[in-house]
């Protein structure tokens, strides 16, 4: 998955598990940027009676570097507090919740937002902002879309924020890709062949918890400017999100935890699928604990990706050119760790300097596309991944094709991709809830009452 359960330790700590990060120029407010970080993967809509919620003991952060050194220049911090209104009931809600502040919402969460600019004192933007309840069903949370909309809050400085449950916007065939790299539409070519079949979106009807913030471009860009020139180095930002826990947790005799000490990062996400697919299992937890600034230590896994070696083995005879290519993958190093410099893609760059760092790089001067191409930059749409990441970008297909060699010619004209490369797909498309046309853009989460479990086979 993008980064759902991508590392051994954080897979056991879903409240702190960052599943996806998005950064894009807001299509309906192109003077702003929307940053989204999702947490708590694979939520069953009917997962009560203790439904999913943010962690009071987790520090959630969205970080932006704008000075080329992969250090955070602007950080938004989010801290949550949970209350129980009625201590004498087991119910999440003691009646229908029609408004976000209803007394029937028995376990509400609120949160604070703090902006930290490098070298400055932290600025508290808001406290006690309400989080909507999860989507339980038509009796408990009627008119859920309008109920959740009450969780969109205006912040000082033209900023807007939302935190709460949303439909996952990521799609991929989980069942097949983790079964020895199977791509169902081409599985007759697999080392262990089966009849071709359509892809299955393993995240359909799955919810996540979203933190989304929309800010003026000047809130993020170097020097507080609003970038207008694509070629200007100051137009590019690097984005990543983290979750951190205090170093020690102690349970009292009533079973209540208390945390002590400074925060230690336990989850990190910039580009999708990096820790998931490129970093070896034994290094994944350490990768999650590091800052992007130190990612040169992991660059060898990007320049020699294990998956590029596996594809010719799993699909014999399909990737002869890829199999024969022995050079370091300068294309992937650029796309994922430094950004694409001027001169590689005509009229475009998102280069952040020589510091190798996994960040989602966004050139703020590229306007939103009127007809977004899900294949983003490789599809000729410079407003999409790997120039930031929009909800509609098909990052699985883009990265599969890139790893298979489609982007090598950007930096090595002597290489011709295999014929199959541009056709690679896991066969899925976005069958999740429809995206919204406005902030926070992610779709209405699936309801517990309305959704149906899948059909197991063994």
């Amino acid at each position: 998955m993008s980064s759902h359960r991508e590392a051994p330790e954080v897979s056991k700590d879903p409240v702190a598990d960052n599943t996806d990060v998005y950064a894009f120029v807001s299509p309906d407010r192109p003077d702003t940027v929307t940053l989204i970080a999702n947490f708590i993967p694979l939520q069953h809509p009917d997962g009560g009676p203790n439904f999913y919620e943010f962690g009071d003991d987790v520090l959630y952060e969205i970080k932006v570097s704008n000075s080329g050194d992969a250090q955070p220049d602007v950080t938004y911090q989010f801290r949550f507090t949970t209350r129980v209104k009625n201590a004498n009931t087991f119910l999440y809600n003691t009646g229908p919740i029609k408004n976000i502040g209803d007394a029937t919402f028995n376990r509400p969460q609120t949160y604070s937002v703090v902006r930290v600019a490098r070298g400055h004192q932290p600025q508290r933007l808001a406290t006690r902002l309400a989080v909507p309840p999860v989507n339980i069903g038509p009796r408990s949370t009627p008119s859920y879309a309008s109920l959740a909309a009450q969780g969109v809050h205006a912040l000082p400085g033209g900023r807007t924020v939302f935190a709460g449950q949303r439909a996952d916007g990521f799609w991929v065939d989980l069942g097949s890709v983790f079964d020895l790299g199977t791509l169902r539409p081409f599985q007759h070519l697999h080392l262990i062949p089966m009849a071709d079949a359509p892809g299955v979106n393993g995240l359909q009807d799955s919810n996540v918890h979203t933190i989304a913030i929309q800010v003026p471009k000047s809130d993020l860009a170097r020097g507080g400017h609003t970038p207008t020139s694509v070629g200007d180095a100051g137009s590019v930002i690097g984005v990543w999100a983290t979750a951190s826990r205090q170093r020690s947790k102690v349970y009292d005799s009533d079973g209540h935890p208390d945390s002590f000490g400074p925060f230690q990062q336990v989850s990190r996400l910039g580009n999708p699928l990096v820790n998931e697919v490129l970093i070896p299992m034994a290094s994944k937890d350490r990768w999650n604990a590091q800052t992007p600034h130190g990612d040169s230590a992991f660059a060898k896994y990007v320049s020699r990706p294990e998956l590029a070696g596996l594809l010719p083995v799993l699909y014999p005879g399909v990737f002869p050119h890829l199999k024969a290519y022995t050079k370091p993958r300068a294309d992937l190093l650029a796309i994922l760790l430094t950004g694409i410099p001027t001169g590689v893609v005509p009229g475009f760059q998102n280069f952040t300097g020589s510091t190798q760092a996994d960040m989602l790089r966004l050139n703020l001067a590229v306007p939103p596309s009127s007809k977004p191409n899900p294949l983003g930059l490789v599809g000729g749409d410079a407003a999409g991944f790997p120039n930031g990441r929009r909800l509609t970008d098909d990052v699985v297909t883009i990265e599969l094709r890139a790893v298979a060699g489609l982007t090598i010619p950007l930096v090595d004209k002597s290489f011709t991709p295999d014929a199959a490369t541009s056709a690679i797909t896991d066969g899925t498309h976005n069958t999740n809830a429809a995206f919204l046309g406005h902030f926070p853009y992610l779709g209405t989460p699936a309801g517990g009452f309305q959704s149906r479990p899948g059909t197991p086979h063994s």
Partner: protein, 89 residues
């Protein structure tokens, strides 16, 4: 569950009034987390509980975790004393 009745399930406003009464009677149940996470800029509390962590007794370092801070004290005698105390059962 005295506040929950058929009527409260059918009327959000009625249920709201009932639960508000419960809140007034049991304010201690309102705040579960002892840290004021809605106020992350609050100063570190003093005099509260803390955790002492000795990773390597031979280093003489004792790490004290208090609030959201960490203090490392280099005190070989203290590190040794903690280790000895821990070995007594």
């Amino acid at each position: 569950m005295p506040q929950t009745t058929r009527r409260t399930f059918l009327s959000a406003s009625a249920a709201g009034a009932a639960v508000a009464g419960a809140v007034t009677l049991a304010p201690a149940a309102l705040v579960r987390n002892p840290l004021d996470t809605d106020n992350p800029l609050a100063p570190v509390r003093t005099g509260g509980p803390l955790v002492a962590y000795v990773e390597d007794v031979s280093s003489g370092d004792v790490t004290l975790l208090v609030g959201e801070e960490e203090v490392v004290v280099h005190d070989p005698d203290l590190a040794t004393a903690i280790a000895r105390a821990a070995s007594r059962r």
